[in-house]
Amino acid sequence: MTQQAPPTGELTTGAAGAPAAPGPATLIGRLRARPAALLAAGVLGLLVVLALAAPLLAALEGQSPNTYHDALVDSARGGVPYGSLGGVSAEHWLGVEPGTGRDLFVRLLYGARVSLLVAAGATVLQLAVGIAVGLAAGLGSRFADSLLGRATDVLVSLPTLVILIALTAVAPAGFPRPLLLILVIGLLGWGGVSKVVRAQTLGLKKLDHVAAARLGGSGRLRVARRELLPALAAPVITYAALLLPANIVAESSLSFLGIGVTPPTPAWGQMLSSATTWYRADPMYVLLPAGLLFTTVLALTVLGEAVRTALDPRAAGRLGVGRTRGRVRGGIRGRIRKGGAA
């Protein structure tokens, strides 16, 4: 979409109506103006590229993620890597894992694949289910709404861990673990999204353009697709930026409880959970995954915040003097997000 200048004499339009929603081009334009957002996007992009290129980079270093190097660790001292900085050397750029001597650089790269995949997959699933349920509750009858509301209540009150542990036990042994994690985290964590979407939908539903569409003969599905979904983008993206890091942390917490990805597959969370005790004997082992995780979360948050502000019409519009009109009160229920298993 190209921006055209407002029709002449229409100095007034911005003031009178609800602020215009930015199209994708504007959004990117606004993001470009923020160096922090650019940097964050760059960091995330780099991470994704590194994760994708893991086999190439591993070949470059000449290591593989699962090869043991018994000679590189001191068996008498619990398997701590020989040498400084956790065994950093020309062969092992970031040192090796205590106990096994596996190459950390390559494991971190491969770990990024799993962690990012699980987090992104779970987030997508949470969003998909949450949006579907939220829309259905917001658009459906009063009965459907309260039914879905109670179902969400049940879901939110279910201790995630109980279900997780039970499900990991129930799932067939050959079932790919990352997929299982995606399914479990995704299917248990959509309560917040659905609440946000429902609240937004209830607000949006009252807007005249939705009524107009219905009058024009659009059915519920059509209304949902054409009139509501686009308007939900901003809150949903904002929410996704919160969910992604939370899901990475969830993956690591599950690993901590022994229900994460299956070995020998590396994942950041799983590395972090096995590294926690090594903080004194081999600080590098903790710092590397923790640092990466932190960087990712930071980048995601900065980017999420930037997208949120860029999508928020008020941020680009007037401050202070202008009148706020037709504002949708998301309300408390809209802001609710389910806490993780802390």
């Binding site: 979409m1 055209q4 407002p6 029709p7 004499g9 229409e10 100095l11 007034t12 339009t13 911005g14 003031a15 009178a16 109506g17 609800a18 602020p19 215009a20 929603a21 199209g23 334009g29 606004r30 103006a33 807007l207 005249d208 353009h209 009524a211 107009a212 569409a213 219905r214 009058l215 024009g216 003969g217 659009s218 059915g219 059509r222 054409r226 009139e227 686009p230 308007a231 680009a316 007037r318 401050l319 202070g320 003097v321 009148r323 706020t324 009109r325 037709g326």
Partner: protein, 559 residues
């Protein structure tokens, strides 16, 4: 141009005689990506001590921006302000600390447009007034401040002020909230009252009360008044002088009687001409199909219609036993104060709402649910269009939903519709925010016409628009009636507009129709006292007439 000279003369006159002097005020707002929009350009004005100045102009002409500048409210917002402003000797653009605080509230107090959002929802109104009072009287005790708050609330006519001062804003009606805001202003005894659209959100009857109150206060305390409004009728009875603004510039200024009576500028004249007059007899639209044939079942017949919201003790009866008939091609106006059930009635007629009781017949057949032959034009042109879809798509939506036409046919039809409502057919791919309010309302009408309705329900289709645009839309609706033989259910609270559009009018109050009949009869010889009160409250453009009406109102109030 010697800016220096300008500046000096401005300052000189300002400090000596005038309460407010503004010279060469220019305000630019940032709109992102380093671009700015000019809201006010090289504006000068002055207001003598105790005087009253009205600032009028269409929406977006910069009125509020000027008002805010008087209190220095643009500071720290990113807006660029240049020129000089003096309010009672203080420069709101540079004053700091105690001086700025004294200016804000102490010298000049502001009354904002939307009385609900302008008050803190969490605190009792009395406490809010007391808080502001204590800012300006730091040695006043809490108790004294509360007493002062009760006193001013009482002064602005809040009944049982001591008790009501403990209420929160949402427990007040719109008029009471506006009174509260005025009371807040009074509490600090300012020398200047800046009122930015103090009555736009209110009904005519309440509007009249508030304007009367301001008038009375001014007479009593001798404070100056800067009244910002887009309604020329409002200024007529309330100020001495008026300044007309357009696109951030002053177009004309002078004594109110002169400007309204004999405008010098074409713009002012056009503005005045566009104002609908309630006194004018309507020139009913003659439509081809509109033959009032007694035997044929009416296009719309509504019997004992009732709508309740909520259940049990919380239930509100929004519409209560309404009977209406509307023949093909006829226009029925519905007027009434806010909350009287007009919108609810309209939505039930379209099928968007299901009645609690009663019956709706279309062409003699009982109707349920939505119908393609009944469409609606909404009040707010901004929210009635999806901001994320091009206007062409919005108009095409009903056609696509029907699924009868091919894509190419739909495009042709949409272009036709756009042309029909007076828009450029090439605007198909543009987005709502690229249009003015009036243009957007045209898009809304085009969309309503797409399914070829026989009845168009217009819910306040013009109240969000300024007078000039209002007139255009009213004109358009008339033309469409003529060309298409549409029947209109025209809902509005503005009695003058209704008179222009309708053949017959129904007056609603608290969900019921209190009076119904041909427009000229109802406006000319109202039978119900409520209709009479409504008509008496309508502002008139002539200052003398306004004064006369005010006297009448005071009389009837005291009686």
């Amino acid at each position: 141009m010697g800016a220096d000279t300008d500046l000096r003369t401005g300052t000189d006159t300002g400090t000596r005689t005038d309460l407010v002097t503004v010279s060469d005020l220019t305000v630019d707002f940032p709109v992102g990506e380093g671009r700015f929009v000019r809201a006010v350009e090289a504006l000068s004005l002055s207001l003598p001590d105790g005087g009253a100045l009205g600032v009028v102009g269409e929406s977006g002409s910069g009125k509020s921006t000027v008002a805010a500048a008087l209190l220095g409210l643009h500071r720290d917002t990113g807006a660029r302000v240049s020129g000089t402003v003096r309010v009672a000797g203080t420069d709101p653009l540079t004053a700091e600390g105690a001086e700025l605080r004294r200016l804000r509230g102490g010298l000049a107090a502001m009354v904002f447009q939307d009385p609900l959002s302008a008050l803190d929802p969490y605190y009792a109104v009395g406490d809010q007034i007391a808080e502001v009072y204590r800012v300006h009287h730091p040695d006043a005790s809490r108790r004294a401040a509360r007493a002062r708050a009760v006193a001013v609330l009482d002064r602005v006519g809040i009944p049982d002020a001591a008790r009501r001062s403990r209420a929160r804003p949402h427990e007040f009606s719109g008029g009471m909230r506006q009174r509260t805001l005025i009371a807040m202003a009074l509490a600090c005894e300012p020398r200047l009252l800046v009122a930015d659209e103090p009555t736009t959100a209110l009904d005519v009857t309440v509007q009249a009360q508030i304007l009367d109150l301001l008038h009375g206060l001014r007479a009593e305390t001798g404070m100056g008044l800067l009244l910002v409004t887009h309604d020329l009728g409002v200024v007529a009875g309330s100020v001495d002088e008026v300044l007309v603004m357009k696109d951030g510039r002053a177009v004309e200024r002078g004594p109110v009687a002169a400007v309204l009576g004999a405008p010098k500028e074409a713009y002012t004249a056009a503005l005045l001409a566009a104002v609908p007059r309630v006194e004018a007899a309507s020139a009913p639209v003659r439509t081809d199909g509109a033959v009032a044939d007694g035997d044929e079942p009416p296009l719309l017949a509504v019997r004992a219609l009732r709508k309740e919201f909520g259940r049990g003790r919380r239930a509100t009866v929004a519409v209560d036993g309404v009977d209406l008939t509307l023949r093909a091609g006829e226009a029925l106006g519905v007027v009434g104060e806010s909350g009287s059930g007009k919108t609810t009635l309209g939505r039930m007629v379209t099928g968007l709402l299901t009645p609690t009781a009663g019956e709706i017949r279309h062409g003699g057949v009982p109707a349920h649910g939505l119908r393609r032959d009944v469409q609606m034009v909404f009040q707010d042109p901004a929210s009635s269009l999806n901001p994320r879809r091009s206007i062409g798509e919005s108009v095409a939506d009903p056609l696509r939903a029907a699924g009868a036409l091919t894509d190419a046919e739909i495009r042709v039809r949409v272009r036709g519709l756009l042309a029909q409502v007076g828009l450029d057919p090439e605007a198909y791919h543009r987005y709502p925010h690229e249009f003015s309010g009036g243009q957007r309302q045209r898009v809304g009408i085009a969309r309503a016409l797409a399914p070829e309705p026989r009845l168009l329900v217009c819910d306040e289709p013009v109240s969000a628009l300024d007078v000039t645009t209002q007139a255009q839309i009213v004109e358009l609706l008339g033309r469409l009636r003529r060309e298409l033989g549409l029947a209109l259910l025209f809902i509005a609270h503005d009695l003058a507009v209704v008179r222009q559009v309708s053949d017959r009018v129904a007056v609603m109050r608290r969900g019921a129709v209190v009076e119904q009949g041909p427009v000229d009869r109802v406006y000319g010889a109202p039978e119900h006292p409520y209709t009479r009160a409504l008509l008496a409250a309508v502002p008139v453009l002539d200052p003398a007439g306004a004064a006369q009406r005010r006297a009448q109102r005071l009389e009837s109030a005291s009686a």
